[in-house]
Subunit: 317 residues, 2 copies
């Protein structure tokens, strides 16, 4: 089937952006909205960011969500998307593209995202996806990593470690199957988290490379030190030991939001209507310090940094 037919049959029905012109042209007109406009792009590669046998439905959901988390963390609402789809020349039948598009469409709708354009190419390699997502800031500009101030509380949305648990089940049969969904497509906080970030966060980012490493990054960008109370962290399924806590807090792929806020905003944040937990604070100085039940914890140096490769392949194969 020619690209034109793929577009007409599978993608044009998803292209609900007014400026997409039914994907009949090579460019789409973007809506400018009222607030400042931001954009992000995240790619996913078969065998690196997802397993070859993952359902295409969850691959589509994950592709959208890993981008949405970046937009929410900036205090913005997602708006329009452009999709690059590198489809394997061999090995995936046409049913899969139907399932992929169906799931993609539902996920875009869930976040109010309008597909505006894209490019579909055949590739001799595995499935390769990239999504560019725009967002409209709810405040005067995007909330950045570097805006934290000494004394700020550090908060995280949702739970940490569910994807790690899914990975352990998938690869080693450890734990419970119920976590697999979080590996295949992370649970994000609701759209309203964008308002929370825009109204109350001085610094924010999504948790993609591990809570500890990402907190170290946020603190460094703010020119400060960070302290984290591991026993306050909302670990998915709980954590039985310090070793398990450190494992769950350094693995990544959570796509929850990590942010710093003035302590005077704590009441508003706690009343947000979704799960948000205070897990530490920013302080003068540099580096990351952790405590467990009030006692200092020695952090292995590698925990506080990203995984040491290009990209952060959550699927270690």
């Amino acid at each position: 089937m020619a690209e034109k037919d793929w577009i007409r049959r599978y993608f044009a029905p998803l292209a609900k952006a007014p400026g997409a012109a039914g994907l009949t042209d090579d460019t789409a007109e973007l809506s400018k909205g009222y607030g400042p406009l931001i954009a992000t792009v995240d790619a996913m590669v078969e065998g690196v960011h997802f397993f070859s046998d993952d359902p295409v439905e969850t691959i589509a959901r994950k592709l959208v969500r890993v981008n949405v988390s970046d937009i929410l963390a900036s205090g913005a609402r997602p708006r329009e998307a452009l999709l690059t789809l590198g489809w394997p020349q061999d090995g995936r039948n046409q049913d899969q593209i139907v399932s992929f598009c169906c799931s993609l469409g539902a996920e875009l709708d869930r976040w109010g995202i309008l597909l505006a354009g894209g490019d579909t190419v055949m590739t001799p390699g595995g499935l390769f996806l990239s999504l560019t997502l725009t967002g409209e800031c709810l405040g005067a500009g995007p909330v950045r990593r570097g805006g934290g101030q000494a004394g700020d509380d550090v908060w995280v949305t949702g739970e940490i470690g569910a994807a790690r648990r899914g990975y352990l089940w998938k690869t080693e049969g450890r734990g419970e199957a119920r976590w697999l969904h979080a590996l295949q497509a992370p649970e994000l906080p609701p759209l309203e988290a964008a308002d929370l970030i825009a109204s109350h966060a001085r610094a924010a980012m999504d948790v993609s490379d591990g809570l500890l490493g990402d907190l170290a990054t946020l603190a460094e960008a703010s020119g400060l030190a960070a302290e984290i109370e591991l026993d306050q962290v909302p670990f998915a399924g709980g954590a039985a030991s310090l070793v398990e806590m450190l494992d769950l807090a350094s693995w990544g792929d959570d796509y929850q939001l990590l942010f710093a806020a003035d302590p005077q905003h704590a009441g508003f944040i706690q009343d947000s209507g979704f799960k948000v937990t205070r897990i530490g604070r920013l302080a003068e100085g540099a580096g990351l310090a952790a405590t467990h039940c009030g006692k200092p914890v020695n952090l292995p140096e590698t925990l506080a940094f990203e995984h040491g490769r290009v990209g952060q392949p959550p699927v270690r194969s």
Copy 2:
């Protein structure tokens, strides 16, 4: 080397967009400009859109240009870019990323494009690139394929067939080596072509799938027929026979601009200061008709349509 280090070393110096924040955050703030904002995305895959032994410098140039041609064809100036780079886990050494970024930076500068963000991932497959490019319309909106009117002149910028000649030299040793550059990185019309399109074109698109097929597409989108005078087409290096003309006009990868304009604008268009040639006209009806020295030419049906696969792999390997 970790992604963070790649970004800091290679990509941050290219990220000149004011809202890119030095690529230290996951989102970039886009400039809204004055005119309507448009976006396009085009991907390139090793072994499909370029040869494995093509220089990374020309791969970078081609990536930018295949997107720029879409923006120019909409009557818009390119503005900001987001890059997805899927770098092979094996087989390309680090010198190549330096060369790629150096060439990419120079090419972005040439078009006044500011790199705003991106994502770099390792892939078990070949080199995979995708660029999202925004543009600011010079008119009230993007010029579309479907705006042509009966009686409009059909024009094309630059020359047609240089990439085809480069391909014949590369794969069969036919012709001259001097055309190879056009296959590796197409020559585009200058930035001023955006003004020409915005001011004078009623319908426009870039020539990526072959002049004949693309003209048929433009005519169909406009609800009209098109006539093309093959002896008027500016073929790269000239064309000795009708067979050669049809070959050069149906191969694609030209990335020149094809547009329809009111005949009253012909004088302005001819005075544009760069090469623009009138090659035919739009008329009531449907379909594509070609003439050669005033006589009708039978067009093989396949010439008037795209190459029958997903993507239009210009590299047939």
